[in-house]
């Protein structure tokens, strides 16, 4: 069981103009744990993150429960949510240039959340901002604090966004594709920094990405999302080593570009992600799945085999010593 201070999501449903895009997902993020959430575009990953943060756009509604410190965040008023956001739960966005205010010095942007949530004086907040800039390993913290976002590189801006997110020691850090816009060497530095800081602060991390290797490098647990549902959940290393859900296996095969079939072609997932509301009934993956049959017309439950914590929502899960191709029908 998770400690009280973690984040518990129960039966979260997110509807876009009445069409469910996230269909009742539940998971627990223990204090200090690091969880990856992966899936293709259009699978509901980002909507899940925005729902946790209470940042859903107009016309998109969330129901269910998001429990943090004994409170359901979905029940809070806008005003109450403002006190939680940035303080107890904070977010790192994909594109730092749009997350930062171009007209404000970065030091003031970090200080802003300290003044708001901690009631610090202008001077104390400014001093703390310089310390935070140093913590995210930016050079010359005093001078950097007085710079504007356009004077920093992409990697430096993302460090500033991370400093803002960590300013108030949040219990939960949600990172939505934090390194997708960065070069590989900068990405590696940024991942290393996030890893260190999250460990030192004892915060929980929810890392959302479509890049499987990024998850493998800093997360312990993994949620795989498809069609607004969680299709597989377990320990990162075991899920990648021997995925049970055919979707996870397909993602893995198309990520590992070395693995090729007989004519040296890459393994792919047939078809594409359906549009919102166009996913098939029953198992959401059945129109693309090589193992689908009549049983898949009913919704599979996210269950673990006896004696295991690895849950998969599939009627015909892949057993560990069996490859995907040996499944039922081929597409």
């Amino acid at each position: 069981m998770t400690e009280v201070s973690g984040l518990v999501v129960e039966d979260l449903v997110v509807e876009v103009h009445g069409t469910p895009a996230v269909k009742g997902i539940s998971f627990e993020l223990g204090r200090g744990s690091r969880m990856g959430l992966i899936g293709e575009s259009g699978c509901g990953k980002s909507l899940t993150a925005l729902a946790l943060m209470g940042l859903l756009p107009h016309g998109v509604t969330a129901s269910g429960r998001v429990l943090l410190g004994g409170r359901n965040l979905l029940d809070l008023s806008d005003r109450e949510m403002c006190a939680v956001r940035g303080n107890d739960i904070a977010m790192v966005f994909q594109e730092p240039m749009t997350a930062l205010n171009p007209l404000m010095r970065v030091g003031n942007q970090i200080a802003e959340s300290l003044r708001l949530h901690r009631g610090m004086s202008r001077a104390a907040a400014a001093a703390r901002a310089v310390e935070l800039i140093e913590r995210v390993q930016l050079p010359e913290p005093d001078r950097t604090a007085r710079r504007y976002p356009h004077q920093l590189s992409g990697g430096q801006r993302q460090r500033v966004v991370l400093a803002i997110a960590l300013a108030c020691d949040p219990a939960v850090l949600v990172a939505d594709e934090p390194t997708t816009a960065l070069d590989v060497t900068v990405q590696a530095e940024m991942l290393r920094l996030m890893d260190t800081l999250v460990r030192e602060e004892g915060a929980s991390l929810l890392l959302i990405t479509h890049d499987l290797p990024v998850v493998a490098s800093i997360c312990e647990e993994l949620l795989v999302m498809y069609g607004g549902t969680i299709v597989e959940h377990g320990d990162v290393a075991t899920v990648f080593d021997s995925p049970r859900h055919p979707y996870t296996a397909g993602l893995k095969a198309s990520t590992v570009l070395e693995r090729t079939d007989g004519n040296s072609r890459l393994a792919t997932i047939p078809g594409r992600v359906p549009a919102l509301g166009a996913f098939p009934g029953g198992c959401v993956y059945r129109n693309r799945c090589p193992r689908a049959d009549d049983a898949c017309r009913t919704v599979p439950l996210l269950t673990a085999p006896p004696g295991s914590r690895r849950r998969a929502a599939c009627h015909h899960p892949i057993e560990s010593d069996q490859s995907l191709e040996s499944g039922k029908a081929s597409a």
């Binding site: 575009s41 590989v184 890049d211 490098s217 792919t268």
Partner: protein, 274 residues
Amino acid sequence: MTTPPLLEAVDVVREYRSPRRSLRTPGQPVRALDGVSLQVHEGETFGIVGESGSGKSTLSRILMALDQPTSGAASYAGQRISGVPERKLGFLRRDVQMVLQDPMSSLNPRMRVADIVAEPMRSLRLPGDHRARVAELMHAVGLPEEAVTRYPHQFSGGQRQRIAIARALAAGPKVVVGDEPVSALDVSVRAQILNLLTDLAEQFRLTLVLVSHDLSVVRYLCDRIAVMNQGRIVETGDTASIYSDPQHPYTQRLLSAVPTLHGDLLDRFNRSST
């Protein structure tokens, strides 16, 4: 190799002026390319890898005569293409085509797919039945024939990239230059497009030049690669030997920064950067 290279760059330098900082002095010149030489032979798949700002896109633009070098020259099939007026570049425009990263900005949103794909044939005044050729291309890139009457926004990202590839093939080129052609796509779609590129390169005997920051994509697709850093080619050679035994420190650092599914990235990266 004894055959002359299809595409060649000799000691190419490209300088840009940075924006001026004062009214009296002009902006400082910045070297985007600093003496780059390379050869791409017919039928090979050549990769140019590097991080943002390394000069890889500038180089690909110079190889297509879309930009002019400050000094040095690029040539195609032995003919100089740098500093040559556009009206004399008809042969190059027919033989070398490009696929860009973001199909949403490289496809005209107001044109139907049929017109987009037929445009190179029209502008190059190629003879033949353009409609039949468009139908043939749609088949080659795996799109339904009725897609020709639709507009780009009615397609998914992967399908749009297929349209961009069909357009690149329309004039019957010998070389296709891809500037980050799969970087904006999801992993599963990326694999589909990479397979398509491999199929088409075989089918139409294309020479592919792939510009990318993604080392795994380049590794899969390319026979030879050039690694760029700060406007220079730091290492060039067979893909297999560069990946198994990188010589230059920058290549070593770049390779060790690529995360893998086995999650040892942080260890490897810490070791290589200290």
